[in-house]
Subunit: 415 residues, 2 copies
Amino acid sequence: MQLKWVEGGVCAPKGFVANGMLAGIKKNSKKDDVALIFSDTVCSAAGVFTQNKVTAEPVKLTRSRCREGHAQAIFINSGNANACTGAQGAKNAQRMSDAAVKALNDFAPSPVPINKDDVLIASTGVIGVQLPIEKIEKITSDLVHGLSKDGNTKARVAIMTTDTKFKECAVEFELDGKKVHIGTMAKGSGMIHINMGTMIASVTTDCCISSQMLDKALRESVAGTYNCVSVDGDTSTNDSMMILANGQAQNSEIITTGKNYELFLEALNAVNTKMARKIAADGEGAEHLIECTVTGASTVQSARSLAKSVISSSLVKAAFFGKDANWGRILCALGYSGELFTPEKTSVTFSNSKGSEKVFDHGVPLNFDEDKASIILNEKEIKILVEMEDGKATGTAWGCDLTYNYVKINGDYRT
Amino acid sequence: MQLKWVEGGVCAPKGFVANGMLAGIKKNSKKDDVALIFSDTVCSAAGVFTQNKVTAEPVKLTRSRCREGHAQAIFINSGNANACTGAQGAKNAQRMSDAAVKALNDFAPSPVPINKDDVLIASTGVIGVQLPIEKIEKITSDLVHGLSKDGNTKARVAIMTTDTKFKECAVEFELDGKKVHIGTMAKGSGMIHINMGTMIASVTTDCCISSQMLDKALRESVAGTYNCVSVDGDTSTNDSMMILANGQAQNSEIITTGKNYELFLEALNAVNTKMARKIAADGEGAEHLIECTVTGASTVQSARSLAKSVISSSLVKAAFFGKDANWGRILCALGYSGELFTPEKTSVTFSNSKGSEKVFDHGVPLNFDEDKASIILNEKEIKILVEMEDGKATGTAWGCDLTYNYVKINGDYRT
């Protein structure tokens, strides 16, 4: 398939506008902290959410709305997670949604009134502090008035917390001779682990696809992309990934698996993989992006699980920070992954644009070139290839190194 | 039961001697690196080992010997893990054992010759480098000649790697009116996680107990002590815990569960709990010992699992380093533990000798005293009490904070 990377992020698909503004949720912060994405027609909607038993209030609300399969807007705040906030938190989540519905209908940017349950909301930031909902309510009308086709540039920044870079991308591809777009933005830097590799991601598309197929594609794609990212092993109370599809590309609706479903999934995978790499590279304090690919595993699930175990290991992560070719820790992490494999038929190679160096071959340590390894490990991106001979499946996971700055950022996050 | 803490470590029980020496396994290191523990009569023996699929060669050998239920000596080296070393590594593990058997029989410190399979061996240190076995063979005879009743002071240091403190203790208690002793030493500072909370621990006792009951007591005790310690989430290739019981206390042999078994288990738990705390407090780079106790959980297993999740969280660990009362991360870690509980009936309190401060009460954040919390968090030892109302079970886990020094130590461990 021809995939063309395009500008515009969540506004790249037809019919979508966005905006970002400062509500002042976090004291003394001057960065925009509320973002709104809006489609001028109702969309198929799907979402995947944290598996944490302690679930933030906006997640509870949005999860039940995604089950209905339709929505028209995504309203996100940073600076406060609205988690562990009890009954008042639930009330505030509802008020946040209500404020968006009211402002959207007052200003009427869509031809028909927006349904009161068609806003998906998400919050990210500190846990256990009540959301200053009045501040959000106060600016929602202005936020709606400012919705625009280039508002993605404001929205993508407004959702950031400890992120050092905004994260967005968009693709264009063809279905039935019609141009279809998928756009996305995400935030995520710490408290990131494999069971939902980000705190909040929004995907928009003008593809015409049923909510059932949209849900299926989202789950399938997330398993091999966002769910293969780890920064620190902590899955948050707020992880949310939402997708809206408004059908304005006018391809014939995807209502079953088949060629068009596969094409859509391929494009979605491309977008999500790019975002997964961006999130790992911008992991809190990260100096290196670490990509681990396991080949020759017995199943795809096993390959992914082995790769995730490697990039999740604190010792592996600290070794990459120290630019130390300590491959023994990689073997160790493979060994405690819980997956079956044959250590005697396992090999390990480090590589990137600077070269390739095999350090372990079929269970035996190699007398490798430390200087060549050091040149590879000095680069920003490092690939670990783990070759096994237990099957034919491949899996990749993305992570980052563990640095002084990770400790610093998280030692004084709240205060 | 009356438990009396005594001096002597692994040499406290009757009939045990020990020694430590420098073999020069790690280049340029002047610290003793081989340790030997010896009982002048054959012992009941048991062991628990790493569940890592990548298992060091000495672990393979020692595990099979522990299954036989008898042994007479424990021979340990630091500086090299003899892991990921293939067929040559297996040969070297056997040579290490053979060297001890030969030296012990040449010098004949025991009335009858030691059986060639009655030496348990263990190695700890860097992974993937061949063991310099000749250096060990060269000094084994001197090591045996130097065995003595106060050799625990040398042995406990010889097994250390990145440990900053030696770890040993011993207790005395009574069974059938006889004085019984349990002594132990352990090393462990990094690559430590809940499925075997240390790399190497040796326990000696003069209790008369069958190998079946010894094995049962060891497994039962480890589940609530060593297996509840986490420093960094990495389970090593070399984790080994071995226990020798020579029966010289002359109590009537424990061959079944019952009062005497329970008394022995209680003493073993006391010893192992003390060691678990020592290991967590000396976690690589650690500045704080964190003890998390969960009460009111549905089962003991669930309580332990919840407590382990808290002390394993990188974000919780970084917050304690920063002396930040960020209790939201504790809730978050409880939530992704995989255990069922009721967040709305959960409360969290920080405490230690400086005071006690409840921060979260039945699902609702408290407006707690930040100054009082800060005084508590400035201490070396911090207790987190998590009160639930889902049942009556209690569990405790031990960990440490995540510091710049952890990253530093592990960034340049190999080089």
